[in-house]
């Protein structure tokens, strides 16, 4: 689960990681009031969306307005907030459609002496979290990682033990951090690693992490992603979920216990198992078609869940044909067949339906479909299914 910058900074503050004073504003008036409350001669207005690249991104409706801007008065804060709120921010990560901004963060300014990068992720190869820091902050860190990986310094830590002081000293030496800032780095980095472990994060990124003119380290930005599997330990975080930032069909599928990702093509796919679902997309593409989605109905799905999966697929106007590919293990072919019949009764198939069934209860599943009056193109194997569905979508 992703959260907004202002929520991430709340976590940072709670964990004693230094952040600047800030206020969330949902109207231009609130933004002006926030500027006044902060009391400085300048502040930064930052659009709050989950996608990155906000500083370089621009508002679709007000192209000269970027997603992050320095302001010097309450009036200017209101003006910028007006340009941003309710409009769509287009960044490198949102795609051309952009993402509507419903709140801005108004944050106090600070004298920046130096911009650095800090990230914490799980290193899967080592099965251990790793803290990554670089003196090349404030820029696209992917670029640094690709072109000059030696400038990204890593230290592994055990979540139960945390990052050790000597590891911070090593990092400081490599990053060129000296004097009293070393102590600030120690507090910052160790608190951040504890925050990561205590909250079951899967990603923490601070870009930039800055050193101010007083030599203190501050998180100027904040990006946090939680491990969805651990949310039962953190019921309070559920409030932070922002459904407006997620694809509506993906949310609907998630509520039905389905795993769905919307794609650009015209062939709807309904598959059991993530690997088989990805492979089904791949084989459609190999046969010259384009998948409209990834959809894994999982192993334990019942007829109602699978019927909901059909509703989601058939609601997508770009879908011109549907491929059902089931290799029954825990999932039974009879459940799928019953769901096909149910969906046909309830919503009707307005597009061609290609079905390939194999595995648990396959004979009974096939018989159910054959004996029904639902118009089905049956396929014997994966390649046959892909060929037939691509042909059906092309002719539609």
């Amino acid at each position: 689960m992703k959260i907004h910058e202002f929520q991430a900074k709340q976590l940072f503050r709670d964990a004693q990681v230094p952040v600047l004073e800030n206020r969330v504003a949902r109207t231009a008036e609130e933004a002006a009031a926030a500027f006044t409350e902060l009391g400085g001669s300048l502040a930064v207005v930052k659009a709050q969306i989950h996608a990155g690249g906000r500083g370089k991104g621009t508002m679709m409706e007000v192209p000269e307005q970027h997603g992050v801007q320095l302001v010097r008065s309450a009036e200017e804060a209101a003006e910028v907030a007006e340009n941003i709120l309710g409009n769509k921010l287009v960044t490198i990560q949102t795609g051309p459609a952009g993402q509507e901004v419903r709140q801005v963060l108004v944050e106090a300014g600070c004298d920046i002496a130096n911009e650095l990068y800090l990230g914490i992720v799980l290193d899967r190869a080592k099965s251990m979290p790793v803290l990554m820091a670089s003196a090349e902050g404030g820029v696209e860190i992917e670029k640094v990682a690709a072109e000059t990986p030696e400038l990204i310094h890593k230290e592994y830590f055990h979540p139960d033990v945390g990052l050790q002081p000597y590891q911070v000293r090593k990092l400081c030496a490599r990053l060129g951090i000296t004097g009293k800032t070393v102590r600030s780095a120690d507090a910052f980095m160790r608190a951040m690693c504890r925050m990561y472990a205590d909250n079951d994060c899967s990603l923490v990124e601070v870009n930039p992490m800055v050193i101010d003119s007083a030599g203190q380290i501050i998180a100027l930005d904040g990006k946090v992603t939680f491990d969805d599997n651990a949310m039962f330990r953190h019921p309070a975080f559920a409030e932070w979920r922002d459904l407006a930032e997620e694809d509506a069909a993906e949310v609907r599928a998630g509520n039905a216990g389905l795993s769905y990702v919307n794609l650009d093509g015209n062939i709807g796919c309904l598959v059991n198992g993530a690997g088989l679902a990805m492979s089904t997309m791949d084989i459609i593409k190999l046969h010259g078609g384009e998948p409209a989605n990834f959809l894994d109905v999982g192993g334990g799905a019942n007829t109602e869940q699978v019927t909901e999966a059909f509703r989601i697929l058939l609601d997508d106007p770009s879908v011109k044909a549907v491929l059902v590919n089931i290799f029954g293990g825990i999932a039974r072919c009879t459940t799928i067949a019953q769901a096909i019949l149910e969906a046909s009764r309830e919503v009707g198939f307005s597009v061609p339906l290609v079905v390939r069934l194999e595995g648990t209860e396959v004979e009974e599943g096939r018989r159910l479909l054959e004996e029904s009056d639902v118009d089905i193109i049956s396929a014997m194997d994966l390649a046959d299914a892909a060929e037939k569905v691509v042909q059906a979508a092309t002719q539609a």
């Binding site: 099965s127 079951d200 993530a274 690997g275 679902a277 190999l286 293990g329 194999e358």
Partner: protein, 290 residues
């Protein structure tokens, strides 16, 4: 000989009184697995499918001599169940449960490595040595005793691969579903080592997917240390970056973990790569004919 499990393996089920645990214990018994009991805390003394239920794994091991376990307990308790099995001296653990927090798995991973225990999963279909021992949720009938060692990060895609090798008459030595999570107990390399040393295994089929670097690491190991023919398939060629494809581990992030990168690494290591998921069985044949 097969790897990890065979007809001699005595298996218990942790979470045997739950719906999934009971259902699959029955399935494994019907397949011919030597199921010897189960564990559910607080339910010791009951029987399921005529098998004794114990309160602790220690009791179950003491009474039955079990050396392997399959785990169906709910995700919040899975890490504890794995640690309990490891503590009781179990040698092969298949954790089927999906949705285990990553932070829980860090400590579990260290513990099983220290003790030299084989942990398969979590979030996996389990493992099977055809006609001898099924320890998991896979449909038994698609398997056939034979030559190919099948290992995979995905469940149903493994069934697809197994079915293709069965239809070609190659059969399988032992099939292992590693699991789709960011941290799993067993890697491709762990299994490559076992397959390489196993007489029954004549060829290896590796089924990977986007995300992480497990396939690249396996490719490097194959180039150095594996003499048997290896074929592979990578799922997710068409997956867009930044989108999680069902499995927590299947995500292309920061331009890393793409199918193309993995396929290049595999081909450079002399592995026969199936271009289509319909071609996995034949890719094994081509690898063996080289």
């Amino acid at each position: 000989m097969s790897i990890l499990v065979n007809q001699e393996t005595k298996v218990i089920c942790q979470g045997i009184t739950g719906g999934a645990g009971a259902f699959h214990t029955k399935g494994c018994l019907e397949y011919g697995t030597q199921m010897v009991g189960g564990v559910t805390p607080g339910k010791g003394g009951q029987t399921i499918e005529e098998l004794p239920v114990f309160d602790t794994v220690e009791q179950a091991v003491g009474e039955t001599g079990a050396t392997a376990t399959m785990i169906f307990v709910p995700a919040p308790f899975t890490a504890d169940a794995i640690l309990e099995a490891a503590d009781a001296g179990i040698k092969v653990i298949a954790a089927i449960t999906e949705g285990v927090p990553v932070m829980d798995m860090i400590h579990v991973f260290e513990t099983v490595k220290e003790k030299g225990i084989t942990l398969i999963g979590p979030n996996c279909p389990g493992l099977i040595t055809p006609e001898e021992c099924k320890m998991g949720i896979m449909p038994g009938y698609i398997h056939q005793k034979g030559k190919v060692g099948v290992m995979s990060r995905s469940g149903t895609l493994t069934y697809e691969a197994v079915w293709q090798t069965s239809n070609l008459g190659l059969g399988q030595s032992t099939c292992v579903g590693l699991g789709g999570d960011p941290i799993v107990g067993t890697s491709f390399i762990d299994l490559l080592r076992l397959y390489e040393a196993d007489d029954q295994t004549e060829a290896i089929l590796m089924i990977g997917e986007i995300g992480g670097s497990a396939e690249e690491e396996a490719a490097a190991y194959v180039a150095e240390s594996v003499t048997k023919p290896v074929a592979a398939f990578i799922a997710g060629r068409t997956a867009p970056p930044g989108k999680r494809m069902g499995h927590a581990g299947a995500i292309i992030s920061g331009g890393k973990g793409t199918a193309e990168e993995k396929i290049t690494a595999l081909e450079e290591a002399g592995i026969e790569v199936a271009q289509s998921p319909a071609d996995m069985g034949q890719a094994v044949q081509r690898a063996m004919a080289r």
